[in-house]
């Protein structure tokens, strides 16, 4: 993944001002969007956009392919659901609790998975996530196959009624912006530079005296926490946490979103998530199980001839 990833991030470093303009335009669009587009769709796209951005932090900037990110999305969803429905806390605390749970789980996964690299790393994360799936299936607390239902949206800070879709949208938008800012700051910090150094040449980073495992672990925990933040928020939006969220299909989907949007690009994961969520919404009732086939075809096309993704290709066009 190295060559084209370095191209992409190069674009960021050369022209920071253009990136800022895009930021502002997108931010403005995000503020007015719920008045033009169905808010529930927007909320879903933003949740998955944050999920994919968190995943991209790991694959795009550290070069670690996690095939188990659904576990963080799902577990945070369950924890947030339990806190809000059963413990009766306010929604923002539910999100915090879900994020914390995902971060802790991320620490455990990370500790185990970074003992191996490359292909093994992907297989270990996948197997650990499958273990979480089986636990979620068997435990009574998660509602098993029925899912964890009837999560109230509640009142934000105990004041604002979140059953209003527009209010809920702005909460999701705020969560997305916070997550996005954290990722942006992480990438453009000295810490982020070291992550990129590890991606480009791990032995060299080690020989320069960096404790590579520690950096990988911190990046993994940040990525897991933000994926959890997305999952907790998603649970509030749909008032449901289900087995789908912890299934390996979801782990594959987030890989696809990131790949399609553009690996190691700032806006790529959001673009990829929007496209995939749109496709799922449009196709689900029309083609039935062909959705899986279409996802597979997009996967194959992306890998074979479209490795820079949507945003990566656009950046290449602009640079020319």
């Amino acid at each position: 993944m190295n060559t084209q990833a370095s191209h992409a991030s190069h674009g960021q470093l050369v022209k920071p001002t253009r990136s800022n303009t895009v930021f502002l335009v997108l931010f403005a669009l995000g503020l007015v969007a719920p008045f033009a587009v169905y808010p529930t769709f927007l909320m879903k796209a933003l949740c998955f956009g944050l999920f994919a951005s968190a995943f991209n932090l790991l694959l795009g900037y550290v070069g670690l392919l996690s095939f188990g990110h659904a576990a963080f999305l799902g577990v945070a969803g369950y924890v947030c659901g339990m806190m809000v429905r059963d413990a009766g806390v306010t929604p923002e605390l539910g999100i915090v609790a879900g994020t914390a749970a995902a971060a802790s789980l991320g620490w455990v996964f990370g500790k185990l998975a970074i003992r191996r690299t490359g292909i093994y790393f992907a297989m270990i994360t996948l197997a650990l996530a499958q273990m979480v799936f089986f636990l979620a299936l068997q435990m009574k607390a998660t509602g098993g196959e029925d899912g964890f239902q009837g999560v109230p949206r509640g009142h934000l800070f105990g004041l604002i009624d979140m059953n209003n879709n527009i209010a809920m949208y702005y909460l999701v938008f705020a969560v997305f912006c916070i997550g996005f800012f954290v990722i942006h700051r992480t990438i453009h910090s000295p810490f982020g530079q070291i992550l990129k150094a590890i991606r480009e040449n791990e032995p060299r980073a080690i020989s320069l005296g960096y404790d590579v495992d520690k950096f990988k672990l911190i990046a993994f925990v940040i990525s897991a926490a933000l994926a959890g933040m997305a999952g907790a928020t998603k649970t509030l939006v749909f008032q449901l946490a289900s087995l789908t969220d912890v299934h390996w299909h979801t782990s594959g989907e987030v890989v696809l979103m990131t790949l399609l949007g553009g690996l190691a690009t700032v806006f790529g994961p959001l673009a990829g998530a929007t496209v995939i969520v749109t496709l799922q919404n449009e196709l689900a009732d029309k083609v039935g199980s062909w959705v899986t086939v279409i996802m597979g075809v997009i996967f194959v096309l992306c890998v074979l001839m479209f490795r820079r993704g949507i945003v990566g290709e656009l950046q290449a066009l602009v640079k020319r």
């Binding site: 270990i124 197997a127 597979g296 074979l304 490795r307």
Partner: protein
């Protein structure tokens, strides 16, 4: 009769199921290891190809009246040929890139294959009758042994042994091992490495299909039969490491037995016991039991 308060009939039958699952783990992880050795690709489509093997046998029986014994030959050949087409048209383009792209491509292929079969045959399983010659069972005194189940273990072990023999004791296998070490030098010495790679992938896929035909009369033939199995096989591969052929076989069988034993002692944990062992192995011996670090 009882052992530690567990009826031997129960213990025996669960251990047999464990041994059968272990045989499937062994064949599948063996196929993954061979493919990985030469292509440096983790074949995520392995589970889908195992499912295809079972379906080809089922379709051959119901549509064309082809019996089990013929299917045992035809299905791996057809599925292996399908694998060869995939290798020639797609996988080939990725060898110069990061290994992770191979994993992603085969993941996409797995989604496509599984989706098509799900559209055609739905999610519920089809039954495949046990062939007449292998139906019935033997009473061993302490337990009842269905003949077909015994046959699966024997056939799986025979195929594993055949593969081991081919790789470790024949000239073709020597080329393969040399190619795994350094394919450029082997090519410089005049071996047609691209062809070797193609057939290696085809053979790996054929192994998966063979396991699929063996599985057809035991499990239901369903489009999702491969995807859950393959994740467990990945854990098996992490536990054993992909460095050694015999290691894959031993690890696969051993984990199957442990899983069967767990079903007797603490059934709730049987779905996750392989993953728990993976965690322990990662903590104690990160390179895997037979890995070369």
């Amino acid at each position: 009769m009882e052992v530690f308060g567990i009826p031997t009939a129960l213990l025996g039958s669960q251990l047999l199921i464990g041994l059968i699952n272990g045989s499937f783990y062994a064949i599948l992880s063996l196929g993954l290891a061979i493919i990985f050795g030469l292509l440096n690709i983790i074949n995520f489509a392995h589970g889908a190809q195992y499912m295809m093997g079972a379906f080809v046998a089922w379709i051959a029986l119901t549509k064309f009246g082809v019996d089990y014994w013929m299917a045992l030959v035809i299905s791996p050949i057809l599925t292996g040929a399908f694998g060869i087409v995939l290798e020639r048209t797609m996988l080939r383009k990725l060898y110069k890139l990061d290994h992770l792209y191979g994993l992603l491509l085969t993941f996409g292929l797995a989604l496509i294959i599984e989706g098509i079969f799900r559209d055609q045959y739905g999610i519920s399983g089809q039954t495949y009758e046990v062939p007449e010659a292998l139906s019935g069972g033997v009473n061993l005194g302490f337990m009842f042994l269905p003949i077909y189940r015994g046959w699966v273990v024997v056939a799986a072990l025979a195929v594993c042994f055949f593969t081991w023999y081919m790789i470790e004791r024949t000239k073709l296998g020597a080329y393969l091992r040399a190619g795994t070490e350094n394919s450029q030098i082997v090519q410089a010495l005049g071996v047609n490495v691209p062809l070797l790679i193609t057939f290696t992938y085809g053979y790996g896929v054929a192994l998966a299909a063979f396991a699929g035909v063996l599985a057809a009369p035991i499990f239901q033939v369903s489009p999702v039969m491969g995807s859950n199995l393959i994740i467990v096989v990945f854990a098996v591969v992490v536990i054993g490491g992909m460095g050694s052929i015999l290691g894959s076989i031993v690890t696969g069988l051993g984990l199957g037995l442990i899983e069967g034993l767990t079903k007797v002692i603490y059934p709730e944990a049987s779905a996750v016991v392989v993953f728990v062992i993976m965690v322990i192995v990662l903590l104690v011996r990160p390179a895997g039991l037979f890995g070369k670090s």
